[in-house]
């Protein structure tokens, strides 16, 4: 941790693809008029009494054309902030071997740090079978918040019940007008739940971070008697491993992730697949590839 603090916190740059409406100043292209750099038209000096923005050429041309006697001032679109939401899957399957809360916490810190750095707000919604109230943070701009958010995830206890139904509730929590939603999960669950959540989040830009388990965490044996228990439900399943079983297993898994990808495609969402720590560079590339 100490080394982590000494090291400069990794960050990434991102763009919000739509124009943002809001009164507060930020960095994303906005729709509201105010101080900014993108020209939004002229207005009467009487209505917007800002003589610094007087455009004499436009005034003369306008007066000659219309016969009025107005002074025109330039108006600009103001840049506005957005909100970055982190929806963190804290279900039990997110806490086995190569996929763990530490990585999730690192990602959260990265997203939060980048958001605060750009003056955007950051909100955190943890979920498992329900909403996790101990891992929850309404959107804020506090500078200390990235570490607090990360520690919240690190300190989070294991899920009490199985399932990811909290995903829907967590999606309901997101009420910001403009938001990029990072949905970090292993997506080893019913596609219908994901579909439903994505539909609810359709107003937002969703970035699904798909944590992929190692193969051994899906099927821990190559041959012989294998007893397995589900990380979520504790349901037991035993097989006598042999090549045909392995083939069937591979097929089922590929099918699941194909369906998942198709579901993302339906919602115009591009997933980010990872099997370890997510770096700022990865996310930067992700956002650059977007436009």
């Amino acid at each position: 941790m100490s080394e982590n603090k000494k090291r400069q916190q990794d960050e990434f740059s991102y763009r919000y693809p739509h124009k943002v409406y809001g009164s507060l100043p930020g960095v994303h292209q906005g729709k509201s008029l105010g101080t900014g750099d993108s020209f939004a038209g002229f207005s009467d000096l009487f209505d917007y009494p800002d003589p610094r923005r007087l455009d004499l050429r436009a005034t003369i041309r306008d007066n000659m054309a219309t016969g009025n006697d107005n002074y025109l001032v330039k108006r600009y679109q103001q840049r506005s902030p957005i909100t970055l939401w982190m929806m963190a899957d804290l279900s039990r399957s997110m806490a086995i071997s190569n996929v763990n809360h530490e990585q999730l916490a690192n990602l959260t810190e990265l997203v939060a740090h980048s958001a605060v750095g750009l003056g955007d707000r950051f909100g955190l919604a943890g979920f498992d079978s329900g909403l996790r109230h101990d891992v929850h943070m309404m959107p804020t701009r506090q500078r200390s918040m990235p570490l607090i958010a990360a520690d919240m995830i690190r300190d989070a206890g294991p899920a009490t019940t199985a399932g990811v139904d909290g995903l829907i509730h967590a999606a309901n929590m997101i009420t910001s007008k403009h938001a990029i939603v990072f949905l970090a999960s292993d997506f080893c669950c019913d596609i219908n739940v994901i579909d439903k959540a994505l539909r609810q989040l359709s107003r937002y830009t969703v970035v699904p971070v798909v944590w992929q388990h190692d193969d051994v965490n899906h099927l821990p044996s190559h041959a012989g008697w294998t007893e397995m228990c589900d990380s979520e439900t504790g349901e037991r399943r035993s097989v006598w491993m042999r090549p045909s079983i392995k083939k069937r297993w591979k097929q089922t898994m590929d099918e699941h992730f194909e369906q998942l990808t198709a579901c993302f495609m339906r919602h115009r969402v591009r997933p980010l697949f990872t099997d370890g720590d997510v770096t700022g560079e990865q996310l930067t590339n992700y956002f650059l590839g977007r436009k």
Binding site: C188, N217, H218, P220, M228, V239, W240
Partner: protein
Amino acid sequence: MSMLGIQWTSPMMLILLPLLLLPWFTHNQDKTVAWTSFVPVDSLSNVIGMGLKLLASAVIASLVITLAGPYMPEQKVERVGSGAEVVILVDRSRSMDDPFSTRGKALAVNRTVGKGDSKRRIAKKYLMEFVNKRPDDRFGFVLFSDKSLDLLPLSYNKESIRQTINASALGKGLSETNIAKAMITAAEMYSQEDYRGSRTVLLVSDGGQEFSEENKQKIAEMYKRENLTLYWVYMRSTTGLSLQEEGEGDSWKNTPEKRLHSFFKGLGVPYKVFEIESVKSFSEAIDTIDKQESQTLIVDEIIPREIKTAPFFILAMITMMLLVFAQFYTAWGVRKAYE
């Protein structure tokens, strides 16, 4: 505690028997996987899993059973067999150490204690064969020189009669011969027993002897009373000395062998003599006796206490080996998966 006649050395151990349910409740080999829905449902695997658990239960059960020590208690079984009760009288005098089959040779002077062709050893060999041929017979064994030694009272135990015959061929012979005493000992052996069937005395000797009047009387009386059959296997040492020749000019008339023969003949009990000149005639004699002495006989058989743990040990070992194999195979599979 008994079941099917089986008894237990330490029946308290059977309290451990519920341990065989252990394999059905342990899940110490569970591995956590992200989502079991990816794992295919496989009926063959279910069967194999059931089989492995059954095997493990079988191992525990059989080990517990061996701990409890099942055994069949000693049993006495009465059955009807065909055979006889035979008391074998073997001459232990020194002349029995002489080589056999002396046809055409002078009387051998060298005593061949360790050689295979002494009369004693030939007798031993054929007696052994006789014993082996007759599984239902009851044998007694008397060794005699100047005293008679009833080495083995009448017994059904084939192993002990075999060992007794073996042992009788060891060592050197003694000097004297007292056939009368041996014959009385044999008759006494029978007089202690209930009459069960054919009773036989098989006398193996290489010489005869004059009995005293007193002994003659006693023997005649006892043999008649006990209803015995007498066989004399006479291992002839000198060529030409035959018991049968009863000519007028028989110069051997007064030899002890001939006198004994005539005494036996006049005894009033079934009697047969076998003059053994060669190994072949010995085996023929044995065969003849074997054929003649097969009357119905009530046989008391004692089946000794039998410990029944062996099949359970074998069962446990085989199943354990199967399980160990499965375990090694699985371990290999896991290692391969993590590679």
